[in-house]
């Protein structure tokens, strides 16, 4: 092996200590998007597959059950047919016993859409290198995200605790609330799907808030300014809008249809 010459001689100086910029060396940006943004897009695509699987399951199982026929005001819950959403999701915190169909979920939807707006404003501020504006809008986004998550926590606890009326069973017992095995709102799978789909979405919101808090700290420390770009805010922004997008679909299929 003595024939090997020192590397300084084997490689010409012109090939050393230079960033690789060739097409196949990672020097270019395919599709004109940076590596990070492109990978975020592909991750979101794969995440969309997961949510699509959930919604397909929901559609399939829902079709298995009968549709409630009759006027909405005469609706009573039963395991024989799928419940109508405006009679299930009609509670509002602090207004016990009032029938306010879909009012709370409307509020939650607006909070999440608004958090998406403040996120775009943060991204826009990052492109202008306006550190103070990025901090301001990130804080608003974290606030709205946390508010949404708290609303969902209330929605869950109300769903689990149930109504005063409950559901009267054939043997005379009354069921209040819901768990994975039994619920007062309708078929067992209705509550199961509620927990899985809104729970999976809520987990995404939670991860998003953690990422946003990281972003806020890094912005405050000047990390992105030193790096020369606020691309991390854009990437986390993409994720945050995706979470909003998923909610738009969950909202339609769970609360409207």
């Amino acid at each position: 092996m003595s024939t090997i010459s020192p590397t300084t001689q084997a490689i010409p100086d012109s090939a050393l200590d230079k960033p690789r910029t060739g097409t196949w060396d990672g020097g270019n940006e395919p599709l004109n998007a940076s590596y990070g943004k492109l990978m975020m897009w592909f991750f979101l695509l794969s995440d969309a597959f997961t949510f699509a699987a959930f919604l397909t399951t929901y559609g399939l199982i829902r079709h298995k059950y009968l549709v409630y026929e009759g006027a909405a005001e005469n609706f009573v819950t039963s395991t024989a047919y799928w419940p109508i959403p405006e009679k299930i999701f009609n509670a509002f915190p602090g207004l016990h016993g009032l029938d306010l169909p879909l009012a709370f979920v409307a509020l939650m939807t607006m909070i999440l859409i608004f958090s998406s707006v403040t996120m775009v404003l943060a991204v826009e501020a990052g492109q202008r290198f306006d550190r103070q504006d990025v901090q301001k809008w990130l804080l608003w986004t974290i606030l709205f995200g946390a508010t949404f998550l708290s609303c969902q926590a209330w929605e869950w606890s109300h769903f689990i605790a149930g109504t005063d009326k409950g559901m009267l069973m054939n043997d005379g017992t009354v069921i209040h609330g819901a768990n994975l095995a039994v619920n007062e709102y309708g078929p067992v799978l209705f509550a199961d799907l509620f927990f899985f789909i809104t729970g999976f979405h809520g987990t995404h919101v939670f991860s998003g808030i953690c990422l946003l808090i990281y972003c806020f700290i890094a912005t405050t420390n000047g990390t992105f300014e030193k790096r020369g770009h606020y691309e991390m805010v854009e990437k986390i922004g993409l994720y945050w809008h995706f979470v909003d997008l998923v909610w738009v679909f969950v909202f339609t299929f769970f609360y409207l249809v």
Partner: protein
């Protein structure tokens, strides 16, 4: 990522004015569609037509979020197709599974 440094303002310390009109425009469009959905939910009896309207309005909302907020409209054609083709196939799969999949209920339940 040295190529991003070229975006730095020519005079450090000088921050350009915000350009946010398009963001608020998109916000009002999405809010209006959501309000319309609620109006339909309370004024129209449940039917296949109503569900179809909901799904079409949802796709409109999704378009505005993805195109404007996620900036996909302003990316290269290659990236747009890379995202849209798998999504289109996914919607096809979803519709096929829900319509054809009902056969399993007849078979095993």
């Amino acid at each position: 990522m040295a190529n991003h440094t070229t975006q730095l303002p020519a005079h450090p310390g000088e921050i350009p004015k915000p350009n946010t009109a398009w963001i608020w425009k998109t916000f009002w469009v999405i809010t209006a569609i959501t309000a319309l959905e609620f109006l339909i939910a309370f004024t129209m009896p449940s039917s296949t037509l109503r569900n179809s309207i909901f799904i079409i309005l949802t796709i409109f909302k999704a378009f505005f979020i993805v195109a404007e907020f996620m900036h996909l409209k302003h990316e290269t054609k290659g990236l747009i197709w890379t995202i849209m083709i798998p999504m289109g196939l996914l919607i096809w799969l979803l519709v096929a599974l829900i319509t054809e999949g009902n056969a399993i209920h007849k078979a095993i339940f």
